[in-house]
């Protein structure tokens, strides 16, 4: 039985290459990742999907050692600004979760990884950013 795949969140698209898709305000250009009622910057309500650059810079991070039950620690929580100016919250992956390895301002690239399957065997795919 071929196992199905879903993305962890709907703004992660896997084809043709993994990338994020933002909702971009047609009026002011503000970008959002959630379902919108209107634009938080200008108040208009006309949006278009916009592909987000996969490369960016690590602008802030924390190394989480205590989290809710069931969440594996430690992990690196990150705020990334992609090269097209979009802000993304994610984890830094494929990198030691230590202050020595994670550096503010380092270059990172979008990547994906599996985060487990549900009881029907459907696999969820998440995104993270890895150092380049």
């Amino acid at each position: 039985m071929a196992s199905a795949r879903v993305t962890l969140v709907d703004y992660l698209h896997l084809e043709p290459e993994p990338h994020l898709v933002a909702q971009e305000c047609r009026h002011c250009g503000a970008r959002f990742f959630d379902r919108r009622n209107a634009c938080a910057r200008c108040g208009r309500s006309d949006f278009a999907p916009a592909g987000v650059d996969g490369a960016g810079e690590l602008r802030a991070f924390t190394i989480v050692h205590r989290a809710a039950p069931g969440i594996p620690v430690p992990f690196v929580s990150a705020i990334v600004r992609t090269d097209d100016g979009t802000w993304v919250r994610s984890n830094v992956v494929n990198c030691d979760p230590t202050p020595e390895a994670v550096k503010l301002g380092m270059r990172v690239q979008l990547t994906t990884y599996p985060v487990g399957a549900d009881d029907d065997g459907t696999e969820a795919v998440a995104f993270g950013f890895e150092p380049t």
């Binding site: 379902r35 802030a60 924390t62 929580s77 984890n91 503010l104």
Partner: protein
Amino acid sequence: MAVQISPDSVWVLGTHMTRFARYPDRDLIDLASEGALGALADGEVTVADIDVLACGALFQASGAVGQRLQKQIGQTGVPVYNVANACATGATAIRTVMMAIRAGEAEIGLAVGAEQMGKMGLLGGAATKKEKKVFEPSGRYGAVTGVDGYLGTETMPGVFAQAGMAYAHEHDGVGFEQFARVAYKNHLNSTLNPLAQYQKEFSLGEIMESPMMSYPNTLLMCCPTGDGAAAVVLVSGERLASMPSHVRKRAVKVSASVLTSDPFTEDCQVQPDVNTLTRNAADQAYETAGVGPEDLDLVELHDCFATAELIHYDNLSLCEPGGAGEFIDSGGPFRDGATPVNVSGGLISKGHPIGATGVANVYEITTHLRGEAGDRQVEGATVGLAHVIGLASACGVHILEKAAA
């Protein structure tokens, strides 16, 4: 600097707080009652004099806490506002009373903040396990399961760690040690405050080596959960002017009362922007009060985590732009520094029963301006600022000034 009593001004007439602690044998209304009755007695008024009540208790926001308080201390039929605004809940209660007085609907009002958290543990982020696990998109991000831990952190120590690290990225001289020094100062300050939940000094080394919660915030750089209440009685200048001189002398002027929310910024929807709304609130408060940051004799600011306090030095213009690291390194916010910050011990050591916090900060400033702060008194204090911020976000800033002699 003598402050005159103008009719349209608003003053703190009385204030009180419980010690912040854990009170397993008392309930929320016991704590709120102690705060309220203490503030009434301190202001030499009774519940019959109160024209409006605002009450904030975040985790019981739907529980009619104000009315339940009235049922213990006096059902006078006056309007009650139960308010909730995250960690700015207490400041919002004060501001609600302030607005009622400014609107001419009340002469004397009571603001109460209370919270009973017990040992809630880590706030923010929650496991979202279902009985049968089926990946179906739901919510505004179409998420098939909880994203906390996969797409960054939702825990409070982590969110505020990131805010501090964003500042560290943009400005030189800010790192783990500077953040730790904030906690060192606040733990040290709390040893002089009998109302603080913890009153114990820790060395910088002990702080840096305590269990890591969310780098760079260690356990001793995070505020505890706890229980407590605080209250203030506010009065119009017109009414105060008719009160006895010994009451007038202890009154403290509310020179500015500001509440802001976070305006849109580029990154505000992926990480809480705790800076812009604090800057906006501070700028507005300084302008309204006609005082500058250099005039402040003490500041109580929202140090929910050490990383938060450091960035608020800059947000409140207590240091040169970008200079928060240098400010803490040079001792600026210490008791004997240029602008003493959190001489109460701050949230980190005094404690943070959420609804009470924003009222307790005003209690602290008021007590110093009256010269009644005992061992922790900032000598000669005449102007102080109280700041709180709640995520989502809400920021309250109050500037208080000593009464005319």
